[in-house]
């Protein structure tokens, strides 16, 4: 079994069986991560490049560790020391990295569509580690993996995604992945940050968080980017927290065993109260651990596809 494409650029391009295969493969790697020796020789001799145009610590580290535990050589292409500052085009940079022998290029960029562009222009496998406000597919996959560990099936679950949907690639990828796997998705947030057009995709939209959280199985919180404050999306983080912050009281609207998730990094007191982030419903650190296993699965499966 393998994936149909050499690249993982978006969840939109995957069907339920692709997602199922990745999650199943990830379960195997999670076992590996629990062992004393956390490394397998599966991709020995392959070269992985982290091409990050945007600052990132957790995602880059997670990919780096995942690649190392599969025994590939990993190079971090750092933007500050690169020729990007000299005005080299995206395509030239990517072709250069490919010419150095990269088999897998993991890319993060502030522009939507960059992963698509590189996938079209390169023979190497391209993994999207977040492109603009488009998608962040491995985050959605690790979220699904985390849900699946705790709930019997994803199908039929009610999932609320709360916050800045408009600018969130995590929300986008999760919405597609959850819908593909048969969950019911609700989007909650101020109308300035939740595009009404998404209703056409069959999701429900709420600006009233208390209503939106009623009887949900999963609450996915999104990071509020502080720079949105004062740009007309919402007045202040104080008012935001009052209306869309996840407090213990708000969480009580959801099912008793509801899972609380967050892709990190969190703004405690802005979108999530510390009591909830550290509470027994929270699986936030599980998400981080599972991210490794899921990224190992993705790299492993893509390496099996001939470009």
């Amino acid at each position: 079994m393998s994936l149909k494409s050499k690249d993982l650029v978006s969840i939109r391009g995957l069907d339920a069986s692709d997602i199922g295969l990745i999650l199943e493969t990830a379960a195997g790697f999670k076992d590996v991560l629990g062992r004393d020796i956390k490394k397998v020789p599966a991709l020995r001799g392959k070269t992985t490049v982290n091409l990050f145009y945007e600052p990132s610590t957790r995602t880059r580290t997670s990919f780096e560790l995942a690649a190392k535990r599969l025994s590939t050589d990993v190079v971090n292409f750092s933007v500050s020391t690169s020729s990007v500052v000299k005005g080299e085009s995206l395509r030239d940079t990517a072709l250069t990295i490919q010419a150095l022998g990269a088999d897998i290029i993991i890319v993060r960029h502030s522009c939507s569509g960059v992963a698509h562009f590189l996938a079209d222009n390169l023979g190497a496998s391209v993994v999207n580690a977040g492109d603009g406000t488009n998608e962040h597919p491995t985050q959605a996959l690790l979220d699904l993996f985390t849900i699946q560990e705790r709930k019997e099936a994803i199908k039929g679950l009610r999932v609320a995604i709360v916050g800045d949907i408009l600018h969130s690639r995590v929300a986008k990828s999760n919405m597609y992945a959850l819908t593909t796997m048969g969950a019911k998705v609700r989007l909650i947030g101020p109308p300035t940050l939740v595009p009404e057009a998404l209703e056409e995709l069959g999701v429900e939209i709420f600006s009233d968080m208390d209503k939106g959280l009623r009887d949900v199985d999963i609450v996915m919180m999104l990071r509020i980017q502080m720079e949105r404050q004062g740009k007309g999306f919402f007045p202040t983080t104080v008012e935001y927290f009052r209306n869309w912050g996840l407090t213990p009281e708000r969480l009580s609207r959801a099912k008793k065993d509801a899972l609380v998730m967050h892709p990190g990094p969190m703004n405690r007191g802005v979108e999530i109260a510390s009591d909830v982030a550290d509470g027994h419903n929270s699986v936030i650190l599980d998400q981080v651990t599972n991210g490794l296993a899921v990224r190992m699965a993705v790299l492993y499966l893509l390496a099996g596809v001939k470009g």
């Binding site: 995206l90 522009c111 939507s112 569509g113 488009n134 408009l166 690639r169 595009p195 057009a197 998404l198």
Partner: protein, 433 residues
């Protein structure tokens, strides 16, 4: 030199002619036109002694088209296009008069740039070039440019094009002042605060692609404002590249009420393609205003049909390949449009939106009238600008083969069925297989 074009279907709406006939050119001017259905005598012309005989049987013989909206890029952006290549592309597209937008470097905001363009055009151009001057110095929207002096130098209209005059008072003054020259102001209608750096039409597609959207209202607000200012001032307003249903409705209402001297144009891409053309981040479909929804395409066709929209112009916006090859957000907006103008527009005739005559009105007669030049007709004595169009060919658009330096088109690979086979411009005959 005497040229005879025989047996073509001659369409000259300016004189109510649409019929099979012969046309004679002598010394760069139309000498005689005889067609079976012309309103007048319908006898075959006596043509003798022609040094060149052209058989146009089964083809259309049209006045050379007049394109109100072209970016020739020179001076300053010769790597995108030059006056030489841009006018050659025009001629390839059946266009024999182009109005070139002022967003060059330096901006055409003073007579010396205007004179440079005209000098270059007369030395290297393949067709007539009519410069459009900037409304404000540097297109900055702050101070009026020397419109009257530029008009004397040859500017036929004024526009800040892609950098619309956001200040309503400045636009009011410009419309008032333009009455001195009796020229139109051409307005690129975009409320920049609302479009706010958007790169495609706003809607489900922009959200799912993660691209910043431009709502139709960003255009419509400015269409409404400019109509109101034209009403206030009595100045002549020409609205560039209409792309939305709402804009069509606003112009229609303004014309119906007769409150303002307003004309409007659209471009082939706005009646030929929707936002879907953006697909997975295809930068060649990035254009401003952006490609819209199906309902907008339908409304624009209706606007062309009922006369709300007077003109089809290309907004020919050539860019270098490298500029379009990369991040969608960073790619410049624009479509290289001259060489698909006739092919795409003739589809409107096939669909019954326009008659052949109507198409020539939108692409030659009306634009010539708006800028007040003596073009767009095959009347005896007029300059022999014409194009012979084969409407029964079937060909695949090949951007790589464009005469223009700009190969940026979302229509690459489209199969079209009309294209010029001969264009006569500035006394030269251009022929293609």
């Amino acid at each position: 030199m005497k040229i005879a074009i025989r047996n073509g279907r001659i369409i000259d709406p300016a004189r109510g002619i649409d019929g099979i006939g012969d046309l004679v050119i002598e010394d760069g001017k139309i000498k005689a036109v005889k067609s079976q259905k012309s309103k007048g005598r319908s006898q075959r012309p006596e043509i003798t002694g022609a040094t060149r005989e052209i058989d146009a049987r089964g083809k259309l013989v049209l006045p050379g088209l007049v394109d109100l909206h072209v970016h020739l890029r020179e001076p300053g952006y010769e790597y995108k296009e030059t006056i030489r290549t841009g006018t050659a592309a025009a001629v390839r597209g059946g266009v024999t008069s182009v109005c070139c937008m002022p967003n060059t470097n330096p901006v055409n905001d003073n007579a010396s740039v205007t004179e440079f363009i005209l000098k270059k055009a007369s030395a290297e151009g393949a067709c007539w070039v009519y410069p459009i001057g900037a409304i404000t110095k540097g297109q900055k929207g702050e101070e009026l440019a020397e419109m009257s002096i530029m008009h004397e130098a040859g500017c036929v209209a004024f526009s800040d094009d892609g950098r619309p005059v956001m200040d309503s008072l400045m636009m009011r003054r410009a419309l008032e002042y333009s009455k001195v020259m009796n020229v139109p102001l051409i307005s690129h209608c975009e409320d920049l605060s609302l479009s706010s750096g958007g790169v495609m039409n706003e809607g489900l597609l922009s959200v799912t692609l993660g691209l910043k959207g431009i709502p139709p209202q960003a255009e419509e607000i400015m269409v409404a404002r400019d109509i109101a200012l034209a009403e206030l001032t009595g100045g002549r307003l020409h609205i560039a590249h209409i792309s939305t249903e709402g804009s069509v409705a606003l112009v229609r209402a303004a014309k119906k009420r007769g409150i303002a001297d307003v004309t409007a144009e659209t471009c082939p891409h706005y009646f030929s393609a929707t936002e879907e053309a953006v697909g997975d981040y295809r930068t060649n479909a990035k254009v401003n205003p952006p490609l819209r929804r199906k309902r907008d395409v339908e409304a624009i066709k209706e606007g062309l049909h009922d006369g709300t929209i007077d003109v089809i112009a290309t907004d020919h916006a050539p860019h270098h390949r490298d500029e379009k090859l990369g991040e969608f957000d960073f790619a410049p907006s624009g479509i290289s449009g001259l060489e698909t103008l006739i092919g795409l527009s003739m589809r409107l005739v096939d669909e019954g939106v326009l008659s052949h005559e109507g198409l020539v009105e939108k692409t030659a007669v009306n634009p010539a009238r708006i800028i007040g030049v003596d073009r767009g007709t095959l009347a005896p004595g007029a300059a022999a600008d014409l194009t012979v169009v084969d409407t029964e060919t079937e060909y695949t658009v090949g951007a790589a083969k464009f005469v223009s330096r700009g190969k940026n088109t979302p229509f690459d690979g489209w199969v079209l069925s009309a294209r010029p086979v001969i264009t006569i411009s500035l006394g030269r005959i251009h022929e293609w297989e």
